[in-house]
Protein backbone atom coordinates (compact mmCIF):
# COMPACT_ATOMS: atom_id res chain seq x y z
CA UNK A 1 0.00 0.00 0.00
CA UNK A 2 0.79 3.67 -0.19
CA UNK A 3 3.12 5.45 -2.59
CA UNK A 4 6.52 4.45 -3.88
CA UNK A 5 8.24 7.25 -1.97
CA UNK A 6 6.77 6.23 1.39
CA UNK A 7 9.65 5.85 3.84
CA UNK A 8 10.10 2.30 5.10
CA UNK A 9 10.25 1.74 8.85
CA UNK A 10 13.75 1.81 10.26
CA UNK A 11 14.11 0.69 13.86
CA UNK A 12 15.95 3.28 15.91
CA UNK A 13 17.12 0.93 18.64
CA UNK A 14 18.33 -2.65 19.00
CA UNK A 15 15.20 -3.42 21.04
CA UNK A 16 13.00 -1.93 18.31
CA UNK A 17 14.70 -4.13 15.71
CA UNK A 18 14.33 -7.19 17.94
CA UNK A 19 10.61 -6.47 18.42
CA UNK A 20 9.95 -5.61 14.77
CA UNK A 21 11.55 -8.85 13.60
CA UNK A 22 9.19 -10.86 15.78
CA UNK A 23 6.00 -8.77 15.57
CA UNK A 24 6.02 -5.96 12.99
CA UNK A 25 3.62 -3.80 15.00
CA UNK A 26 5.93 -0.74 15.06
CA UNK A 27 6.17 -1.07 11.27
CA UNK A 28 2.38 -1.11 10.98
CA UNK A 29 1.97 1.98 13.14
CA UNK A 30 4.77 3.83 11.33
CA UNK A 31 3.18 3.08 7.96
CA UNK A 32 -0.35 3.99 9.11
CA UNK A 33 0.00 7.12 11.24
CA UNK A 34 3.74 7.77 11.26
CA UNK A 35 6.30 9.17 8.87
CA UNK A 36 5.70 6.27 6.50
CA UNK A 37 2.25 7.39 5.38
CA UNK A 38 2.34 10.15 2.73
CA UNK A 39 -0.74 12.40 2.78
CA UNK A 40 -1.75 15.11 0.26
CA UNK A 41 -0.24 18.39 1.40
CA UNK A 42 -3.35 20.49 0.74
CA UNK A 43 -5.86 18.98 3.19
CA UNK A 44 -8.18 21.55 4.80
CA UNK A 45 -9.87 21.27 8.20
CA UNK A 46 -12.63 19.13 6.68
CA UNK A 47 -10.11 16.29 6.85
CA UNK A 48 -9.74 16.48 10.63
CA UNK A 49 -13.08 14.92 11.39
CA UNK A 50 -12.06 11.30 10.82
CA UNK A 51 -9.58 11.49 13.67
CA UNK A 52 -12.18 13.31 15.76
CA UNK A 53 -14.67 10.49 15.15
CA UNK A 54 -12.08 8.05 16.40
CA UNK A 55 -11.51 10.26 19.43
CA UNK A 56 -15.19 10.31 20.37
CA UNK A 57 -15.54 6.56 19.80
CA UNK A 58 -12.70 6.14 22.30
CA UNK A 59 -14.33 8.54 24.79
CA UNK A 60 -17.59 6.61 24.48
CA UNK A 61 -15.94 3.24 25.03
CA UNK A 62 -13.91 4.41 28.03
CA UNK A 63 -16.75 6.28 29.80
CA UNK A 64 -19.20 3.49 28.87
CA UNK A 65 -17.09 0.74 30.42
CA UNK A 66 -16.82 2.78 33.62
CA UNK A 67 -20.55 3.54 33.73
CA UNK A 68 -21.35 -0.16 33.30
CA UNK A 69 -19.54 -0.74 36.60
CA UNK A 70 -22.31 1.20 38.39
CA UNK A 71 -25.38 0.73 36.23
CA UNK A 72 -27.73 -2.21 36.55
CA UNK A 73 -30.09 -3.21 33.77
CA UNK A 74 -33.20 -3.94 35.78
CA UNK A 75 -36.61 -2.49 34.94
CA UNK A 76 -37.10 -1.66 38.64
CA UNK A 77 -33.60 -0.39 39.29
CA UNK A 78 -32.14 1.03 36.08
CA UNK A 79 -33.57 4.52 36.58
CA UNK A 80 -32.43 4.58 40.19
CA UNK A 81 -28.98 3.30 39.33
CA UNK A 82 -28.57 6.21 36.91
CA UNK A 83 -29.63 8.61 39.65
CA UNK A 84 -27.18 6.82 41.95
CA UNK A 85 -24.43 7.46 39.40
CA UNK A 86 -25.47 11.11 39.20
CA UNK A 87 -25.63 11.72 42.96
CA UNK A 88 -23.49 9.22 44.84
CA UNK A 89 -20.79 7.71 42.64
CA UNK A 90 -17.55 9.70 42.81
CA UNK A 91 -17.40 11.87 39.69
CA UNK A 92 -20.34 9.81 38.40
CA UNK A 93 -22.18 12.90 37.18
CA UNK A 94 -19.21 13.84 35.04
CA UNK A 95 -18.82 10.37 33.57
CA UNK A 96 -22.49 10.15 32.68
CA UNK A 97 -22.62 13.64 31.18
CA UNK A 98 -19.40 12.87 29.30
CA UNK A 99 -21.04 9.75 27.87
CA UNK A 100 -24.38 11.36 27.01
CA UNK A 101 -22.82 14.44 25.40
CA UNK A 102 -20.04 12.31 23.92
CA UNK A 103 -22.74 10.58 21.88
CA UNK A 104 -23.98 13.92 20.58
CA UNK A 105 -20.46 15.06 19.72
CA UNK A 106 -19.73 11.74 18.05
CA UNK A 107 -22.70 12.40 15.77
CA UNK A 108 -21.72 16.04 15.21
CA UNK A 109 -18.24 15.11 13.99
CA UNK A 110 -19.53 12.15 11.98
CA UNK A 111 -22.12 14.34 10.25
CA UNK A 112 -19.43 16.87 9.34
CA UNK A 113 -17.25 13.96 8.16
CA UNK A 114 -20.09 12.64 5.97
CA UNK A 115 -20.93 16.04 4.48
CA UNK A 116 -17.22 16.61 3.81
CA UNK A 117 -17.29 13.37 1.85
CA UNK A 118 -20.43 14.41 -0.02
CA UNK A 119 -18.90 17.73 -1.10
CA UNK A 120 -15.47 16.48 -2.12
CA UNK A 121 -16.76 13.34 -3.84
CA UNK A 122 -14.94 11.09 -1.39
CA UNK A 123 -17.31 8.27 -2.36
CA UNK A 124 -16.00 8.12 -5.93
CA UNK A 125 -13.64 5.56 -7.40
CA UNK A 126 -11.38 4.20 -6.06
CA UNK A 127 -12.87 4.98 -2.62
CA UNK A 128 -16.35 3.41 -2.91
CA UNK A 129 -15.67 0.78 -0.26
CA UNK A 130 -14.38 3.37 2.22
CA UNK A 131 -17.67 5.23 1.77
CA UNK A 132 -19.77 2.08 2.16
CA UNK A 133 -17.88 0.91 5.25
CA UNK A 134 -18.42 4.39 6.65
CA UNK A 135 -22.16 4.00 6.12
CA UNK A 136 -22.04 0.65 7.91
CA UNK A 137 -20.32 2.40 10.83
CA UNK A 138 -23.02 5.08 10.75
CA UNK A 139 -25.83 2.48 10.84
CA UNK A 140 -24.13 0.66 13.74
CA UNK A 141 -23.75 3.99 15.54
CA UNK A 142 -27.45 4.68 15.18
CA UNK A 143 -28.37 1.27 16.59
CA UNK A 144 -25.91 1.69 19.45
CA UNK A 145 -27.11 5.21 20.27
CA UNK A 146 -30.73 4.10 20.26
CA UNK A 147 -30.10 1.19 22.60
CA UNK A 148 -27.99 3.34 24.89
CA UNK A 149 -30.76 5.91 25.13
CA UNK A 150 -33.15 3.19 26.35
CA UNK A 151 -30.91 2.18 29.27
CA UNK A 152 -31.78 4.97 31.78
CA UNK A 153 -35.37 3.70 31.55
CA UNK A 154 -36.94 7.15 31.69
CA UNK A 155 -40.07 8.17 29.83
CA UNK A 156 -38.22 9.04 26.60
CA UNK A 157 -36.18 5.83 26.85
CA UNK A 158 -39.27 3.70 27.20
CA UNK A 159 -41.35 5.37 24.52
CA UNK A 160 -38.40 5.61 22.18
CA UNK A 161 -38.02 1.84 22.48
CA UNK A 162 -41.74 1.39 21.88
CA UNK A 163 -41.77 3.59 18.75
CA UNK A 164 -38.53 2.29 17.22
CA UNK A 165 -39.36 -1.39 17.69
CA UNK A 166 -42.77 -0.41 16.31
CA UNK A 167 -41.03 0.14 12.94
CA UNK A 168 -40.80 -3.61 12.59
CA UNK A 169 -44.53 -4.10 13.06
CA UNK A 170 -44.98 -2.21 9.77
CA UNK A 171 -43.66 -5.24 7.88
CA UNK A 172 -46.69 -7.18 6.58
CA UNK A 173 -47.57 -10.53 8.24
CA UNK A 174 -44.28 -11.24 10.05
CA UNK A 175 -43.81 -7.73 11.45
CA UNK A 176 -45.62 -8.09 14.75
CA UNK A 177 -44.06 -11.48 15.62
CA UNK A 178 -40.62 -10.01 14.83
CA UNK A 179 -41.34 -7.08 17.15
CA UNK A 180 -42.41 -9.38 19.98
CA UNK A 181 -39.32 -11.52 19.39
CA UNK A 182 -37.01 -8.48 19.46
CA UNK A 183 -38.59 -7.21 22.69
CA UNK A 184 -39.05 -10.58 24.35
CA UNK A 185 -42.52 -9.37 25.38
CA UNK A 186 -45.49 -7.42 24.10
CA UNK A 187 -44.10 -4.10 25.29
CA UNK A 188 -40.57 -3.04 26.28
CA UNK A 189 -39.85 -4.57 29.69
CA UNK A 190 -37.11 -6.37 31.60
CA UNK A 191 -36.25 -8.71 28.72
CA UNK A 192 -35.85 -5.82 26.29
CA UNK A 193 -33.80 -3.74 28.73
CA UNK A 194 -31.35 -6.54 29.49
CA UNK A 195 -30.74 -7.43 25.84
CA UNK A 196 -30.35 -3.77 24.88
CA UNK A 197 -27.70 -3.42 27.58
CA UNK A 198 -25.88 -6.51 26.35
CA UNK A 199 -25.90 -5.29 22.75
CA UNK A 200 -25.09 -1.70 23.68
CA UNK A 201 -21.92 -2.99 25.31
CA UNK A 202 -21.05 -5.17 22.33
CA UNK A 203 -21.69 -2.80 19.42
CA UNK A 204 -18.93 -0.23 20.04
CA UNK A 205 -16.37 -3.00 19.63
CA UNK A 206 -18.03 -4.06 16.39
CA UNK A 207 -17.82 -0.41 15.32
CA UNK A 208 -14.14 -0.35 16.23
CA UNK A 209 -13.65 -3.44 14.04
CA UNK A 210 -15.36 -1.81 11.06
CA UNK A 211 -13.34 1.37 11.68
CA UNK A 212 -10.19 -0.70 11.19
CA UNK A 213 -11.54 -1.93 7.84
CA UNK A 214 -12.54 1.67 6.96
CA UNK A 215 -9.00 2.94 7.63
CA UNK A 216 -7.38 -0.06 5.97
CA UNK A 217 -9.33 0.57 2.78
CA UNK A 218 -8.52 4.31 3.05
CA UNK A 219 -4.81 3.60 3.17
CA UNK A 220 -4.86 1.72 -0.13
CA UNK A 221 -5.49 4.77 -2.38
CA UNK A 222 -4.57 7.23 0.40
CA UNK A 223 -6.59 10.26 1.49
CA UNK A 224 -8.46 12.36 -1.04
CA UNK A 225 -7.89 16.11 -1.06
CA UNK A 226 -9.80 19.35 -1.67
CA UNK A 227 -8.90 19.49 -5.36
CA UNK A 228 -9.94 15.90 -5.98
CA UNK A 229 -6.84 15.54 -8.18
CA UNK A 230 -4.84 12.35 -7.67
CA UNK A 231 -1.44 12.44 -6.01
CA UNK A 232 1.26 12.29 -8.72
CA UNK A 233 4.65 13.00 -7.18
CA UNK A 234 6.31 13.18 -3.80
CA UNK A 235 5.91 16.99 -4.05
CA UNK A 236 2.16 16.51 -3.62
CA UNK A 237 2.43 14.83 -0.22
CA UNK A 238 3.71 15.27 3.29
CA UNK A 239 4.46 12.49 5.77
CA UNK A 240 1.58 11.99 8.23
CA UNK A 241 3.94 12.45 11.12
CA UNK A 242 4.84 15.14 12.12
CA UNK A 243 2.69 17.26 9.80
CA UNK A 244 -0.79 15.83 10.26
CA UNK A 245 -0.27 14.52 13.78
CA UNK A 246 0.46 18.14 14.70
CA UNK A 247 -2.53 19.55 12.81
CA UNK A 248 -4.87 16.87 14.17
CA UNK A 249 -3.46 17.35 17.63
CA UNK A 250 -4.27 21.03 17.89
CA UNK A 251 -7.70 20.52 16.30
CA UNK A 252 -8.49 17.74 18.77
CA UNK A 253 -7.62 20.22 21.52
CA UNK A 254 -9.97 22.81 20.03
CA UNK A 255 -12.82 20.34 19.75
CA UNK A 256 -12.30 19.04 23.26
CA UNK A 257 -12.72 22.63 24.49
CA UNK A 258 -16.10 22.81 22.71
CA UNK A 259 -17.04 19.42 24.14
CA UNK A 260 -16.07 20.43 27.67
CA UNK A 261 -17.99 23.70 27.34
CA UNK A 262 -21.18 21.72 26.69
CA UNK A 263 -20.29 18.97 29.16
CA UNK A 264 -19.70 21.36 32.07
CA UNK A 265 -21.96 24.30 31.32
CA UNK A 266 -24.95 22.89 29.40
CA UNK A 267 -24.92 19.13 30.00
CA UNK A 268 -28.67 18.74 29.48
CA UNK A 269 -29.04 21.13 26.55
CA UNK A 270 -29.15 18.30 24.01
CA UNK A 271 -31.35 15.95 26.09
CA UNK A 272 -35.03 15.86 26.99
CA UNK A 273 -36.34 16.73 30.48
CA UNK A 274 -38.95 13.95 30.16
CA UNK A 275 -36.21 11.36 30.46
CA UNK A 276 -35.81 12.34 34.11
CA UNK A 277 -39.29 10.86 34.72
CA UNK A 278 -39.23 7.08 35.34
CA UNK A 279 -40.70 4.96 32.53
CA UNK A 280 -44.49 4.69 32.68
CA UNK A 281 -46.01 2.10 30.30
CA UNK A 282 -49.46 3.68 30.64
CA UNK A 283 -48.71 7.28 29.62
CA UNK A 284 -46.92 8.54 26.53
CA UNK A 285 -45.14 11.90 26.93
CA UNK A 286 -47.16 14.63 25.22
CA UNK A 287 -44.38 15.43 22.76
CA UNK A 288 -42.27 12.43 21.91
CA UNK A 289 -39.22 13.05 19.75
CA UNK A 290 -35.94 11.18 19.34
CA UNK A 291 -32.52 12.62 20.09
CA UNK A 292 -31.51 15.48 17.81
CA UNK A 293 -29.30 13.32 15.59
CA UNK A 294 -32.28 11.23 14.44
CA UNK A 295 -34.65 14.13 13.75
CA UNK A 296 -34.24 14.31 9.92
CA UNK A 297 -35.11 10.62 9.66
CA UNK A 298 -38.00 11.03 12.06
CA UNK A 299 -39.37 13.77 9.78
CA UNK A 300 -39.20 11.41 6.79
CA UNK A 301 -41.00 8.75 8.84
CA UNK A 302 -43.78 11.16 9.75
CA UNK A 303 -44.13 12.55 6.21
CA UNK A 304 -46.22 9.63 4.97
CA UNK A 305 -49.88 9.98 5.92
CA UNK A 306 -51.73 8.43 2.97
CA UNK A 307 -52.11 4.79 1.96
CA UNK A 308 -50.90 4.22 -1.58
CA UNK A 309 -50.82 0.51 -2.51
CA UNK A 310 -48.96 -0.10 0.78
CA UNK A 311 -50.10 1.29 4.15
CA UNK A 312 -48.79 4.77 5.03
CA UNK A 313 -46.93 3.35 8.02
CA UNK A 314 -44.94 0.93 5.87
CA UNK A 315 -44.08 3.72 3.40
CA UNK A 316 -42.79 5.85 6.24
CA UNK A 317 -40.55 3.08 7.55
CA UNK A 318 -39.32 2.10 4.07
CA UNK A 319 -38.54 5.72 3.18
CA UNK A 320 -36.70 6.25 6.42
CA UNK A 321 -34.43 3.25 5.95
CA UNK A 322 -34.26 3.97 2.22
CA UNK A 323 -32.89 7.44 2.86
CA UNK A 324 -29.72 5.87 4.27
CA UNK A 325 -29.54 2.74 2.11
CA UNK A 326 -29.72 5.08 -0.90
CA UNK A 327 -26.32 6.45 0.03
CA UNK A 328 -24.75 3.03 -0.60
CA UNK A 329 -25.50 3.61 -4.30
CA UNK A 330 -24.15 7.15 -4.35
CA UNK A 331 -20.88 6.24 -6.16
CA UNK A 332 -23.01 5.08 -9.08
CA UNK A 333 -25.67 7.81 -8.92
CA UNK A 334 -23.10 10.61 -9.27
CA UNK A 335 -21.20 9.68 -12.44
CA UNK A 336 -19.21 12.88 -12.80
CA UNK A 337 -15.48 12.09 -13.08
CA UNK A 338 -14.66 15.31 -11.19
CA UNK A 339 -14.53 14.63 -7.46
CA UNK A 340 -14.30 18.01 -5.77
CA UNK A 341 -17.34 20.28 -5.53
CA UNK A 342 -15.00 23.27 -5.98
CA UNK A 343 -14.78 22.51 -9.69
CA UNK A 344 -18.48 21.71 -10.15
CA UNK A 345 -20.46 24.98 -10.22
CA UNK A 346 -23.92 23.41 -10.58
CA UNK A 347 -23.28 20.58 -8.12
CA UNK A 348 -22.01 23.08 -5.55
CA UNK A 349 -25.35 24.95 -5.53
CA UNK A 350 -27.44 21.81 -5.21
CA UNK A 351 -25.13 20.53 -2.50
CA UNK A 352 -25.90 23.66 -0.46
CA UNK A 353 -29.61 23.10 -1.10
CA UNK A 354 -29.25 19.54 0.22
CA UNK A 355 -27.62 20.81 3.41
CA UNK A 356 -30.48 23.29 3.88
CA UNK A 357 -32.99 20.53 3.10
CA UNK A 358 -31.55 18.20 5.75
CA UNK A 359 -31.61 21.05 8.28
CA UNK A 360 -35.28 21.69 7.45
CA UNK A 361 -35.99 17.97 7.88
CA UNK A 362 -34.28 18.12 11.26
CA UNK A 363 -36.45 21.03 12.31
CA UNK A 364 -39.63 19.35 11.02
CA UNK A 365 -38.73 16.14 12.85
CA UNK A 366 -38.68 17.97 16.16
CA UNK A 367 -41.79 20.11 15.61
CA UNK A 368 -45.31 19.11 16.70
CA UNK A 369 -46.95 17.37 13.74
CA UNK A 370 -49.43 20.02 12.59
CA UNK A 371 -50.74 20.08 9.01
CA UNK A 372 -48.20 22.75 8.01
CA UNK A 373 -45.24 20.87 9.52
CA UNK A 374 -46.31 17.65 7.81
CA UNK A 375 -46.60 19.46 4.46
CA UNK A 376 -43.09 20.91 4.91
CA UNK A 377 -41.61 17.53 5.86
CA UNK A 378 -43.30 15.97 2.82
CA UNK A 379 -41.72 18.56 0.51
CA UNK A 380 -38.34 18.27 2.20
CA UNK A 381 -38.42 14.44 2.11
CA UNK A 382 -39.36 14.50 -1.56
CA UNK A 383 -36.48 16.87 -2.26
CA UNK A 384 -34.03 14.66 -0.35
CA UNK A 385 -34.83 11.69 -2.57
CA UNK A 386 -34.98 13.85 -5.70
CA UNK A 387 -31.50 15.18 -4.96
CA UNK A 388 -29.92 11.75 -5.04
CA UNK A 389 -32.13 9.96 -7.55
CA UNK A 390 -32.84 12.71 -10.13
CA UNK A 391 -30.73 15.85 -9.63
CA UNK A 392 -27.31 14.22 -9.08
CA UNK A 393 -27.49 11.90 -12.12
CA UNK A 394 -28.68 14.82 -14.29
CA UNK A 395 -25.97 17.19 -13.05
CA UNK A 396 -23.25 14.65 -13.68
CA UNK A 397 -24.56 14.32 -17.23
CA UNK A 398 -25.00 17.98 -18.18
CA UNK A 399 -22.68 19.97 -15.96
CA UNK A 400 -19.53 21.53 -17.41
CA UNK A 401 -16.88 21.36 -14.69
CA UNK A 402 -14.21 24.04 -14.30
CA UNK A 403 -10.66 23.19 -15.41
CA UNK A 404 -8.80 21.12 -12.81
CA UNK A 405 -5.32 22.05 -11.62
CA UNK A 406 -2.58 19.99 -13.20
CA UNK A 407 -1.45 18.68 -9.82
CA UNK A 408 -1.91 19.17 -6.10
CA UNK A 409 1.34 21.06 -5.75
CA UNK A 410 0.40 23.33 -8.69
CA UNK A 411 -2.86 24.18 -6.91
CA UNK A 412 -1.13 25.23 -3.70
CA UNK A 413 2.14 26.64 -5.03
CA UNK A 414 1.31 29.39 -7.50
CA UNK A 415 4.78 30.52 -8.33
CA UNK A 416 6.99 33.18 -6.78
CA UNK A 417 4.93 36.12 -8.02
CA UNK A 418 1.62 35.13 -6.47
CA UNK A 419 3.10 33.61 -3.35
CA UNK A 420 4.53 37.00 -2.46
CA UNK A 421 1.16 38.72 -3.00
CA UNK A 422 -1.61 36.21 -2.38
CA UNK A 423 -5.41 36.68 -2.58
CA UNK A 424 -5.21 39.05 -5.54
CA UNK A 425 -3.20 41.60 -3.59
CA UNK A 426 -0.84 41.97 -6.52
CA UNK A 427 -1.29 45.05 -8.75
CA UNK A 428 -1.50 42.98 -11.89
CA UNK A 429 -4.21 40.36 -12.18
CA UNK A 430 -2.82 37.03 -10.96
CA UNK A 431 -2.64 34.35 -13.58
CA UNK A 432 -3.98 30.94 -12.67
CA UNK A 433 -1.34 28.34 -12.04
CA UNK A 434 -0.12 26.65 -15.14
Amino acid sequence: MSFAWAKPYQPKSELGRWFDDRLPLPRLVYGAIGGGYPVPRNLNYGWNFGILSGLFLTIQIVTGIVLAMHYYASADGAFNSVEHIMRDVNAGWMLRYAHANGASFFFIVVYIHIFRGLFYGSYKAPRELIWMLGLVIYLLMMATAFMGYVLPWGQMSYWGAQVITGFFSAIPVVGEPIRVWLLGGFVPDQAALTRFFSLHYLMPFVIAGVVILHIWSLHIPGSGNPTGVDVRTEQDTLPFHPFYTAKDGWFVGLFLILYCAVLFFAPNALGHPDNYIPANPLATPAHIVPEWYFLPFYAILKAFTLDFILPAKLWGVLAMFGSILLLFFLPWLDRSPVRSGHYRPVFKRFYLLLVVDVLILGWAGGATPTAAVIAISQLASAYYFAHFLIILPLISKFERPLPLPSSISASVLHGEKQESAPYGLAKTAPVAAE
Partner: protein, 187 residues
Protein backbone atom coordinates in the same frame (compact mmCIF):
# COMPACT_ATOMS: atom_id res chain seq x y z
CA UNK B 1 -9.54 -33.58 -11.63
CA UNK B 2 -8.40 -35.81 -14.43
CA UNK B 3 -4.98 -36.19 -12.88
CA UNK B 4 -6.57 -37.10 -9.57
CA UNK B 5 -8.52 -39.91 -11.16
CA UNK B 6 -5.39 -41.18 -12.87
CA UNK B 7 -3.64 -41.25 -9.55
CA UNK B 8 -6.40 -43.21 -7.86
CA UNK B 9 -8.82 -44.78 -10.38
CA UNK B 10 -10.24 -47.00 -7.66
CA UNK B 11 -11.89 -43.99 -5.97
CA UNK B 12 -14.32 -43.46 -8.89
CA UNK B 13 -17.24 -45.82 -8.82
CA UNK B 14 -19.45 -46.76 -11.78
CA UNK B 15 -21.99 -43.95 -11.22
CA UNK B 16 -19.27 -41.26 -11.41
CA UNK B 17 -19.61 -40.22 -7.74
CA UNK B 18 -16.38 -40.35 -5.87
CA UNK B 19 -16.13 -41.64 -2.35
CA UNK B 20 -14.52 -38.27 -1.45
CA UNK B 21 -17.65 -36.38 -2.72
CA UNK B 22 -19.88 -38.45 -0.48
CA UNK B 23 -17.69 -37.88 2.55
CA UNK B 24 -17.59 -34.11 1.85
CA UNK B 25 -21.36 -33.80 1.52
CA UNK B 26 -22.01 -35.99 4.55
CA UNK B 27 -19.51 -34.12 6.73
CA UNK B 28 -20.78 -30.66 5.75
CA UNK B 29 -24.43 -31.72 6.19
CA UNK B 30 -23.69 -33.13 9.62
CA UNK B 31 -21.98 -29.92 10.68
CA UNK B 32 -24.84 -27.89 9.14
CA UNK B 33 -27.51 -29.74 11.08
CA UNK B 34 -25.44 -29.35 14.21
CA UNK B 35 -25.08 -25.60 13.62
CA UNK B 36 -28.82 -25.26 13.06
CA UNK B 37 -29.49 -27.13 16.29
CA UNK B 38 -27.29 -24.63 18.12
CA UNK B 39 -28.87 -21.59 16.45
CA UNK B 40 -32.43 -22.59 17.42
CA UNK B 41 -32.08 -22.03 21.17
CA UNK B 42 -29.94 -18.93 20.54
CA UNK B 43 -32.77 -17.39 18.52
CA UNK B 44 -35.58 -18.82 20.62
CA UNK B 45 -34.26 -17.38 23.89
CA UNK B 46 -35.28 -13.95 22.64
CA UNK B 47 -39.01 -14.81 22.42
CA UNK B 48 -41.24 -13.89 25.39
CA UNK B 49 -40.41 -16.08 28.37
CA UNK B 50 -42.94 -18.12 30.33
CA UNK B 51 -43.44 -15.51 33.06
CA UNK B 52 -44.16 -12.85 30.45
CA UNK B 53 -46.69 -15.08 28.73
CA UNK B 54 -48.27 -15.96 32.07
CA UNK B 55 -49.77 -12.49 32.53
CA UNK B 56 -52.57 -13.60 30.24
CA UNK B 57 -55.83 -12.30 31.71
CA UNK B 58 -57.07 -9.43 33.87
CA UNK B 59 -60.41 -8.81 35.59
CA UNK B 60 -61.73 -5.26 35.69
CA UNK B 61 -64.62 -3.83 37.71
CA UNK B 62 -66.49 -1.42 35.45
CA UNK B 63 -69.32 -0.45 37.80
CA UNK B 64 -67.72 2.92 38.64
CA UNK B 65 -67.31 4.08 35.05
CA UNK B 66 -70.07 6.62 34.35
CA UNK B 67 -71.43 7.29 30.90
CA UNK B 68 -68.91 9.34 28.91
CA UNK B 69 -66.01 8.30 31.14
CA UNK B 70 -63.11 6.06 30.30
CA UNK B 71 -60.44 4.24 32.29
CA UNK B 72 -57.00 2.96 31.46
CA UNK B 73 -56.00 -0.43 32.79
CA UNK B 74 -53.19 -2.84 32.01
CA UNK B 75 -53.20 -6.26 30.35
CA UNK B 76 -50.00 -8.12 29.48
CA UNK B 77 -48.31 -4.84 30.48
CA UNK B 78 -50.09 -3.12 27.62
CA UNK B 79 -52.56 -0.32 28.33
CA UNK B 80 -56.26 -1.12 27.75
CA UNK B 81 -58.95 1.54 27.32
CA UNK B 82 -62.43 0.83 28.72
CA UNK B 83 -64.87 3.52 27.69
CA UNK B 84 -68.56 3.93 28.52
CA UNK B 85 -69.87 5.61 25.36
CA UNK B 86 -72.66 8.20 25.54
CA UNK B 87 -75.73 7.92 23.32
CA UNK B 88 -74.56 10.71 20.95
CA UNK B 89 -71.15 9.00 20.65
CA UNK B 90 -72.80 5.72 19.73
CA UNK B 91 -74.98 7.52 17.20
CA UNK B 92 -71.92 9.27 15.74
CA UNK B 93 -70.07 5.97 15.38
CA UNK B 94 -73.04 4.33 13.65
CA UNK B 95 -73.60 7.20 11.23
CA UNK B 96 -70.24 6.79 9.47
CA UNK B 97 -70.39 5.10 6.07
CA UNK B 98 -68.15 2.03 5.76
CA UNK B 99 -66.63 3.43 2.59
CA UNK B 100 -65.15 6.34 4.56
CA UNK B 101 -63.13 4.03 6.80
CA UNK B 102 -59.54 2.98 6.29
CA UNK B 103 -60.16 -0.24 8.22
CA UNK B 104 -63.91 -0.83 7.78
CA UNK B 105 -65.59 -2.23 10.89
CA UNK B 106 -68.95 -1.30 12.45
CA UNK B 107 -69.40 -0.41 16.10
CA UNK B 108 -71.38 -3.65 16.53
CA UNK B 109 -68.41 -5.69 15.33
CA UNK B 110 -66.17 -3.94 17.85
CA UNK B 111 -68.41 -4.36 20.90
CA UNK B 112 -70.42 -7.17 22.49
CA UNK B 113 -74.14 -7.56 21.65
CA UNK B 114 -76.32 -5.60 24.07
CA UNK B 115 -73.22 -3.89 25.50
CA UNK B 116 -72.75 -1.43 22.68
CA UNK B 117 -71.80 1.36 25.08
CA UNK B 118 -68.73 -0.53 26.34
CA UNK B 119 -65.84 0.15 23.99
CA UNK B 120 -62.85 -1.93 25.08
CA UNK B 121 -59.64 -1.58 23.07
CA UNK B 122 -55.90 -1.75 23.52
CA UNK B 123 -54.50 1.69 24.27
CA UNK B 124 -51.71 1.12 21.77
CA UNK B 125 -51.69 3.27 18.66
CA UNK B 126 -51.42 0.95 15.65
CA UNK B 127 -48.87 3.27 14.09
CA UNK B 128 -45.84 2.94 16.33
CA UNK B 129 -47.28 1.95 19.68
CA UNK B 130 -47.76 5.19 21.65
CA UNK B 131 -50.65 5.49 24.11
CA UNK B 132 -53.34 7.72 22.54
CA UNK B 133 -54.92 10.53 24.58
CA UNK B 134 -58.67 10.75 25.26
CA UNK B 135 -59.34 8.63 28.35
CA UNK B 136 -58.65 11.36 30.90
CA UNK B 137 -60.84 14.36 31.62
CA UNK B 138 -60.00 17.24 29.29
CA UNK B 139 -57.51 15.31 27.15
CA UNK B 140 -57.41 15.92 23.42
CA UNK B 141 -59.82 13.47 21.76
CA UNK B 142 -58.90 14.42 18.21
CA UNK B 143 -61.10 15.56 15.32
CA UNK B 144 -63.55 12.65 15.68
CA UNK B 145 -64.18 12.69 19.42
CA UNK B 146 -62.51 9.36 20.16
CA UNK B 147 -58.78 9.18 20.78
CA UNK B 148 -55.82 11.19 19.56
CA UNK B 149 -52.24 9.93 19.40
CA UNK B 150 -49.80 12.75 20.19
CA UNK B 151 -46.78 11.05 18.69
CA UNK B 152 -47.63 11.32 15.00
CA UNK B 153 -51.17 12.76 15.04
CA UNK B 154 -53.48 9.77 14.42
CA UNK B 155 -57.16 10.50 15.06
CA UNK B 156 -59.56 7.74 16.16
CA UNK B 157 -63.37 8.07 16.25
CA UNK B 158 -65.83 7.04 18.97
CA UNK B 159 -65.57 3.40 17.92
CA UNK B 160 -61.74 3.73 18.15
CA UNK B 161 -61.47 3.41 14.38
CA UNK B 162 -58.63 5.13 12.55
CA UNK B 163 -59.93 8.17 10.67
CA UNK B 164 -56.96 10.45 10.03
CA UNK B 165 -53.18 10.27 10.38
CA UNK B 166 -50.53 7.61 9.76
CA UNK B 167 -51.92 4.64 11.75
CA UNK B 168 -52.92 1.79 9.39
CA UNK B 169 -55.65 0.04 11.42
CA UNK B 170 -58.24 0.59 14.15
CA UNK B 171 -57.25 0.23 17.81
CA UNK B 172 -57.15 -3.49 18.52
CA UNK B 173 -60.12 -5.00 20.36
CA UNK B 174 -58.65 -7.64 22.69
CA UNK B 175 -60.46 -10.85 23.55
CA UNK B 176 -62.73 -10.20 26.50
CA UNK B 177 -65.98 -11.39 28.10
CA UNK B 178 -68.46 -9.92 30.61
CA UNK B 179 -68.29 -12.30 33.57
CA UNK B 180 -71.10 -10.29 35.19
CA UNK B 181 -72.81 -6.96 34.52
CA UNK B 182 -70.04 -5.08 36.28
CA UNK B 183 -66.97 -7.25 35.73
CA UNK B 184 -65.14 -7.82 32.47
CA UNK B 185 -62.33 -10.33 31.98
CA UNK B 186 -59.75 -9.33 29.41
CA UNK B 187 -57.63 -12.02 27.76
Amino acid sequence: MATLEQVDPASTQDDGIRRRDFINVAAVSFAGVGAAAVVLPLVGQMSPSADVLALASTEVDISKIASGQAVKTSWRKQPVFIRNLTAPEIAAAKKVAMSELRDPQSLAERTKPGKENWLITLGVCTHLGCVPLGTGEGENRGDFGGYFCPCHGSHYDTAARIRKGPAPTNLVVPEYAFTSDTVVTIG
